[in-house]
Amino acid sequence: MTDYNITDLENTARKLRRHVINMISTAGSGHPGGSLSAADIVTALYFKIMRHDPGQPQWPERDRFVLSKGHAAPILYAALAECGYFPVDLLTTLRKTGACLQGHTDSRLTPGVDVSAGSLGQGLSVGIGMALAARLDKKDYRTYILLGDGECDEGQVWEAAMFAPNYKLDNITAIVDYNSLQLDGFTKDIMNLEPFMDKWRSFKWEVMEIDGHAMQQIIDAIRQAKTVKGRPTVIVAHTIKGKGVSFMENNVDWHGKAPNKSETEIALKELS
């Protein structure tokens, strides 16, 4: 695989964001806000960090990625297509009848997608299962789980948060895409998560805090997390929902709405 430098990664993230806009616009529905906020994290993982082979999606030694916030499926599909798991042309079949790209991720249909998601709060647990399997098989693959901040309202997240340190799992990295918005409004108003970092610390996780749009910070944090032994790591990545498209940024209205034709044109221009 090509060795991407920071500029390459930033350009790739921008390209993936354009895909997201095109896909959701063509589909006429979808979740742009949370896909755009996660774009830089997903880019870093797929184009710099993770060990994977688009030619063999089931390669047993691959690092695992669990998109727990399954509604951000478009950003994952965009990354998988650009990596070569399937043709880029397929992206605009998103959400269409008979397409392999479902509204929320479906592990049965999409090459490179390991976990079906869409009902929130379950991905961290699934990732723990993958990490336990790695330990049993003495394999050195790593499991990355991307959660939303709103998703952390779900009780199961905290069941999983309690489990992983108990088993001293140090082969998983959880990343929270903390974009401060959920469907009904700002997370601080809907269900305040704070003090968020303290919660994870009290559950015995190694906690890191980064700017989730600063590519170098993302890469440094994920690499540093790999060196933490004896306990799991969570990276709380502060992001902006709708990042990269001015009228979508930090605007709750763009959680689950498709841009119309003129909005799409403006968005693509801003991302060019």
């Binding site: 009902s119 647990s125 399997a133």
Partner: protein, 319 residues
């Protein structure tokens, strides 16, 4: 050699997975703070590295099992039937049923024979819930011998399974061995007057009922329908064709379980009189298992009465 005839279904489960786990290292077991009740404690003692205590967190347990399955493990996740069905249904649907994950959910303490713990602990909806899920196989074995065979089949067959076991010891039906085949009913008795189709602990009571009826000259076919999904449609249709009257018996709500499944097969293929024995749209209470069965009409005499009723209906139909 373990004598499984001496064991409750849950004891038999605990022993067989421990044996199988020694041979097949893909087998892993997950538990939610009930290993001493669901009998996974034997596996935990023998194979501690492949036993995952999840604490009281059934949702987390099911999703972890799915993650393990996606990496080639064969996870068995166990808790009481009431929690295995109601507490984590979304996780089962999303992580197991939809992706067809190779996860085996084995519950114990199914039905009202849990007894004294009362309605909070009596699973009467679990079979309906699991039968509603696409991709799932659902089995309610009738005794400890069949339990062993059902567990072997579940482990040998790729895909999601729900196996419902009980708390108390059950009368042994298969003392001479059991040729369990997934999706196939087993004819335990044959007769021309009516068929009793039963599942779980109601199978032995159905044999008892058939023996009572024989004294009065009423001869019944008794089918053990241990696999509820995929259901053995052909055996149901054959029973209707050969005997013209059907009684179903289950330790479960009337709606959504065996009675509903059989009614659906009959009405679509060969409508004959049907009377269903089960729990009639109500929650039960604390009490001795036998008293609770009596209270809900889940007894051999009640099955026999239902057979007489259905035979009368059949005879009226043809006069």
């Amino acid at each position: 050699m373990i004598d499984y005839t001496e064991l409750s279904t849950r004891e038999a489960y605990g022993k067989i997975i421990t044996e199988m786990g020694a041979v097949d290292t893909r087998i892993v077991v997950l538990d939610a703070d009930l290993s001493r009740s669901v009998m996974t404690k034997y596996f935990a003692q023998a194979h501690p590295g492949r036993f995952f205590q999840c604490g009281l967190a059934e949702q987390n347990m099911i999703s972890i099992a799915a993650g393990l399955a996606s990496c080639g493990k064969i996870p068995l996740a166990s808790t009481f039937a009431v929690f295995a069905s109601c507490r984590c249904f979304d996780q089962v649907r999303m992580c197991v049923a939809q992706p067809k994950a190779n996860v085996k959910i084995v519950s114990t303490h199914g039905g009202i024979t849990v007894g004294e713990d009362g309605s909070s602990h009596q699973a009467i909806e679990d079979l309906a819930l699991y039968c509603s899920l696409p991709n799932f196989n659902v089995i309610a074995p009738s005794d400890s011998i069949e339990t062993v065979e059902a567990i072997k089949a579940a482990i040998a067959t790729d895909g999601p399974f729900y196996v419902r076991l009980g708390r108390s010891k059950t009368p042994v039906i298969y003392a001479n061995g059991c040729k369990f085949k997934l999706g196939q009913a087993d004819m335990l008795l044959d007769g021309r007057d009516a068929s009793i189709i039963a599942t779980g602990i109601m199978v032995s009571k159905s044999i008892e009922a058939a023996n009572l009826l024989k004294l009065d000259g009423v001869h019944c076919r008794v089918l053990n329908m241990s696999t509820l999904k995929p259901v053995d449609r052909l055996s149901i249709i054959a029973a209707a064709a050969d005997t013209g009257a059907i009684v179903t018996a289950e330790e479960h709500l009337l709606h959504g379980g065996l009675g509903s499944i059989v009614a659906q097969v009959l009405s679509a293929n060969i409508p004959v009189p049907l009377v269903s024995i089960g729990i009639d749209d109500t929650y039960c209470q604390s009490g001795k298992p036998d008293e609770l069965l009596e209270m809900n009409g889940l007894t051999a005499p009640a099955i026999a009465a239902a057979v007489r009723d259905v035979v009368t209906k059949k005879n009226k139909r043809y006069t």
